[in-house]
Symmetry: C2
Subunit: 485 residues, 2 copies
Amino acid sequence: MPQGEGKPTPVALPSEVGVVNVGLGVLGESVRAQGAPAVDLDWRIPAGGRADLVAALTRLHGRWGSQVEQANREVVRRLEESVPVLVGVSRLAEAVPEADGRVLLHPGPPLAWADVCAPLRRSARAAAVAQGWAGSPEEAEALIGRGAVRLEPANHHATVVPMATVVGPLDPVFVVENRPGGNRSCAPLNQGPGEAPWLGVDSPEAIRRLIWLREVAGPALAEAIRSAGPIDLFALVAQGLQMGDDVHIRSQATTNLLLRALLPHLVTGRHPGMPELARFLSWNHLFFLNLAMAAAKATVDWAAQVEGSSVVVGMARNGTTFGVRLGGFEGWFTAPAPPVGNALYQPGYGPEDGAPDIGDSAVLELVGLGGAAAAASPAVASFLGGIAGAFEATATFGSICVARSGRFKLPFLDFQGSPVGVDARRVVELEVAPMIDTGILHAAEPQGQIGAGVARAPLDCFRQAVLALDRRLAAGEGRDRPPGP
Amino acid sequence: MPQGEGKPTPVALPSEVGVVNVGLGVLGESVRAQGAPAVDLDWRIPAGGRADLVAALTRLHGRWGSQVEQANREVVRRLEESVPVLVGVSRLAEAVPEADGRVLLHPGPPLAWADVCAPLRRSARAAAVAQGWAGSPEEAEALIGRGAVRLEPANHHATVVPMATVVGPLDPVFVVENRPGGNRSCAPLNQGPGEAPWLGVDSPEAIRRLIWLREVAGPALAEAIRSAGPIDLFALVAQGLQMGDDVHIRSQATTNLLLRALLPHLVTGRHPGMPELARFLSWNHLFFLNLAMAAAKATVDWAAQVEGSSVVVGMARNGTTFGVRLGGFEGWFTAPAPPVGNALYQPGYGPEDGAPDIGDSAVLELVGLGGAAAAASPAVASFLGGIAGAFEATATFGSICVARSGRFKLPFLDFQGSPVGVDARRVVELEVAPMIDTGILHAAEPQGQIGAGVARAPLDCFRQAVLALDRRLAAGEGRDRPPGP
């Protein structure tokens, strides 16, 4: 404190000092270096300091806070209480009547053909050939290009597709029923490893795979599942999490649990394709992926009926854009699809070869699986520098979630529940985006899957969502107010 | 230091003291309470202070130390380099010709019929009926009692049997080949849960299970395995450890991996029993247990050909005695079978109902599985107070082992190798006995499995082993010495 003639005298500091450092870590360190205790508080300017976001967040936590919390509780209840059950396999056009005709369902938000990335483009061409609409991928390209085939987001038809999968009316799909919500969802059969359209390949072999799935695997599997009766998918998922699966990039254990359940029905099945189906199932570690996605889709679609919630109920990528959805909003909040980071590549490939993040599988991260469940999976840990990295990833994911799952437990975190209910407010405030476990396709060539890693959802989607929710709640308040001044 | 007229003056202690406390923990605490640093050393009197053991250990580490270490290295090489491969299923009498005739193989060291515990007694009676030697368990009891059926340890015939399993000449057994060692091993098919003789039940239903395994499951499985070709068992085990199995009390993941591998061959199989076999496999979570045991047996039998090693190459219990073996010794070092501790019981049962530890499955603990791999398995952790308990159990097991597995990795310990090579010297010196993951049978009634937990091998077996090895090496030194004074 200045005193006398402007000459400051030294401030008498107390002999013992305890410091709470809210600044850079180095400031706390310098205090500690002088022998005084200092605690570092990990604090950053909320929402990067953007005034519009801070104002919206203030209202979403304050003025409309209790309204949002109430909606969030109902969303979480639905995320936790859905019971998605596999009830059968049928053709897409039967399960989703509005998908009859010359329509192809693709992953992620809507996009124009001109904007479709190379792997998805090849997959769509292969699908059009397999549907019998074109004699070659080149003919298919022309057909789609002139609008003779409609492209629609699978998500708009209660359907989800992994990676670059494209599904047409003749293709077999799993039908999943969520009785508590009274809703259904679909996903196509997983196409398996190697030369397959879902991995961005449109070779004759890849097209044959689609036809075989339709003509042989689909009907044979339909018979086995009919014989087995309804299968509670999340009951298998809960077990798979105890067995090293994140149930996104690794679903081997859950696939095996399904195979064990189907085994007697595959053995007694009369369809002549049973032996080929059995070989395919025995060879396809990711077979359960599509089923887990369908189960998650049935779950989030039920939750999406709740309005006014800040919990994300849709998340998907088409290889060009990344989109998220909030309940009660028609469209998507989108941003350019991010690259996949923390990746491991097959020999001869690197980051420069990878296509942007693609597929509807990010729906898994909304129900406590994938990146949320990183701590369950040594396979995911290998992308994150080891088990400690996986534990940290789950903790970070938890920081943007409003709840912990009562049914999906992480065994090596002493059976803590996996984080569920991604709150767009927290994502924006903390600038922590959901981590998504994912495969990587070649960006340009039909090389199929060249690696796997984790992608970060773009923050901008969540920022748009927060601003839109704020505007809608403000408008609603306006409507509820009695007329007059 | 006393000075002057016998009046002690105070000793001038240094103003700063650091203490290493080798005594009780409370001594270190009292130093720390006075503000001085103290490190507690966890030290106990070696071998409980028994002079004969301390003398033997001194020689086994000193005078004959390098000889023992050399033998141990070769034993560990064999424990690590065995490649046990499932090559088929055949009748016991074909696989083990000396087991033709009226002979029943039982778990653990040899024992007299009068000393056989109730669960094993019932299992032997059921086996004798199923073999067609008696019309009822009572007739069987009389037959065995008067010596008309020989009882022999399965272990003496390159065979291992879990829990109270008894196997006769007509029973189907897995045949496992360890090519690097040029040796083979066998184990019967796992009998499945519920009313089954291996769990100490001799009801008509349990006897029917044995006949069904022999007449239906065995031949059908033989066909499927023939079609599949040789199966590398430890390759499946290594994967199972990544999926929550300790591959002893939990082998569900490894069972599922086997089922996935067999699936195409079960579907294409022509044996009319295939559908029943498929239902049985789909229902039996422990099916792989017996295969893992056969693989471990092929491994330790190869290692047991090495003489002069202190690494244990056999460990088994017959429900009355517990025995361990060292390479080059004919017999077993035995002690009374211990109770199973840290147990979880089915409702209505408790420690007073449990039979003593039984079965040959403890061979798994000698190759890095079961208790050694506790850290891999949330299921085992549930007996040990949580994941930290499982991690500690593996660390404690490691303290008595001479190596870490290069092929069996513990994912949540950042892929550390599982401990292998139980050194009888360390067991005796530290008084730390191997922990064995195991099931619990009812001691008196035919209730089957009533719980699961962990058993501690009795230290006395290892003490006998250490003394015998010391004597043998001393005698060998005598022989090697030139004659004369």
